[in-house]
Symmetry: C2
Subunit: 328 residues, 2 copies
């Protein structure tokens, strides 16, 4: 496999998209070189000895956007990676790479926002580090969080007949950040959905092995996350287009920009797979904005099929390229 990363090749924005290029880079470089049983799982968090451990770098641009900022995003993102692994988040760390000349007032706003998000989630930031690089050597501020959690539950395994649920509308974060960049000349009231998910995941964990699988569909969106599910479970994910919750503002922006909300990052949404007999209970636990959006089947290869509103069906591939760089 290594031969497919050719000599002279360089890192591209697509390698950071969360889609196909990211997966290739992870599988053929990071996972290959650093291989060990825990890393090889390639989950959102490593799990062993009753603990979960995860990390995420945040490079979102702009740093402040409707509904949140990089600080809140960094706290919630790592809380959520632990949450969907079935863990109770215990501790966070935060490391800052700051460009010389960055306003201390903005740094304070971001750290205050992290503090509020950590307080809200009930997960303290217990360790940190700060590095400063020369003006021009970074774009303002990057934040990397890591998190440790205690495992609550082990799930069942996804199987044919299981239902796929999402906890609310998709695409809100990505479109909110795109609009905030201002280069779209689009006026909407869209806000990022950044939020912690660990209360929702704790509630679903009470379903025991009727809960099969959880993820937060961030970079690459719901489409990429469900492709990973199809691939790892060896099943088909059949999505019902009409059931997908999408805000009218997102649908409008999506149409104007030609960007499919299925590929757009969410930062406060849960996708869960549950046994069919637990679907209504799970739906109730996920709240009023949740929806049952699909079913797992074993009658086709490992892929995601979208049954469209018009009665047809099409393959939903992983993200190729990156329509939305630096979305998180």
């Amino acid at each position: 496999m290594v031969a497919t990363l050719r000599s002279g090749e360089v890192v591209t924005l697509a390698h950071g998209s969360g889609g196909k290029a990211t997966r290739k880079l992870v599988e053929e470089l990071f996972a290959r070189e650093l291989s060990n049983p825990l890393l090889d799982e390639l989950g959102d968090a490593a799990v062993a000895d009753g603990l979960a451990f995860t990390t995420d770098a945040f490079v979102v641009k702009p740093l402040f956007f409707p509904g949140g900022d990089i600080g809140e995003l960094a706290v919630n993102g790592t809380v959520n990676d632990l949450a969907v692994a079935g863990a109770e988040p215990l501790w966070l760390s935060a490391a800052f790479v700051i460009e010389e000349g960055f306003p201390l007032e903005d740094l304070r706003l971001i750290v205050q926002s992290m503090a509020r998000a950590a307080e809200h989630a009930g997960v303290p930031v217990v360790a940190g580090d700060t590095k400063v690089v020369e003006h021009g050597s970074a774009d303002g501020l990057f934040v990397t969080t890591a998190g440790v959690g205690r495992m609550r539950a082990t799930f069942g395994r996804p199987q044919a007949g299981d239902r796929v649920l999402v906890s609310g509308t998709i695409g809100d974060h990505g479109f909110a950040v795109l609009v905030a960049r201002g280069d779209l000349r689009l006026e909407t009231a869209l806000e990022s959905d950044t939020a912690p998910l660990h209360w929702l995941t704790a509630s679903l964990c009470e379903l025991g092995t009727q809960l099969r699988w959880m993820r937060d569909p961030t970079r690459g969106g719901l489409a990429t996350t469900l492709n990973e599910l199809a691939s790892s479970a060896g099943l088909t994910v059949r999505l019902d287009e009409a059931a997908l919750p999408i805000r009218p503002e997102v649908a409008g922006a999506a149409e104007i920009l030609g960007i499919d909300p299925l590929y757009v990052a969410n930062e406060g949404k849960l996708v869960a797979v549950v046994a069919p007999e637990a679907a209504n209970e799970a739906l109730a636990r996920l709240g009023p904005d949740a929806a049952i959006v699909g079913t797992l089947t074993d009658d086709s290869p490992s892929l995601v099929l979208l049954d469209t509103a018009l009665g047809g069906s099409r393959i939903v591939d992983m993200l190729v390229g990156d329509p939305l760089p630096r979305i998180c």
Copy 2:
């Protein structure tokens, strides 16, 4: 205290030095806003429930230098933060922020180096993340590692009469990186001392409460680390200049550049405080390059005093400003 970070102020390279400005930023912004009992300790790692947790961002320039590279540094740096907290390092995470256009071959060399360092230390990298930013928005590559460890031991408390030991020569890493930058027009065989310290710290932990305190003197060097000791213990650290192990190449570079090796980063050296009756045993455990370099006293305020080779003594303050930006 908050008023001392004034409106309109910006982040400077000194804020990343590990010295006085860093301490002020940490105390008046990060620790103040994110305050919680674990973070408030401001140790190299947070410790609770028998676990230790830490993080470090690495922005060293150049990425490859004599004796190591950013990957090896990132692995050893986090292993060492856990080690000096008295923990057995269990797991590492690694998050990469990569500039678009970065050569994949260099990325592979760095990841291979991390893999070798992790293998050598016996601590796997179990979680990771990769983000890519546009060309010009980062300087090649930044790596942030975090680590989880299991606590081995609790130390005694530093007290008057205790001895201060270092495990080997000081200043090697910082001067090696400076020379590697090439703008000094200096030719030396100096190499970074990057190395894992957890075997040494495990050995010292066997001394029980006769072991009082451990740190790895990275950014800001031995002087800054010992100032933190003096301040937290409320004691004077008396250093014996003649006992400080310094390579002739480092002494030479220091003289030419006018940079005191006491303020220069080490990446594979341990400084330990032990009870006087355990000093020789600790010295033997630290190996042939170790030295007893000082004593704690309670006859002066909380500061670091250097007894010079000429018979005088001078105050060794914390680092002010940053003579060596991006040294780790």
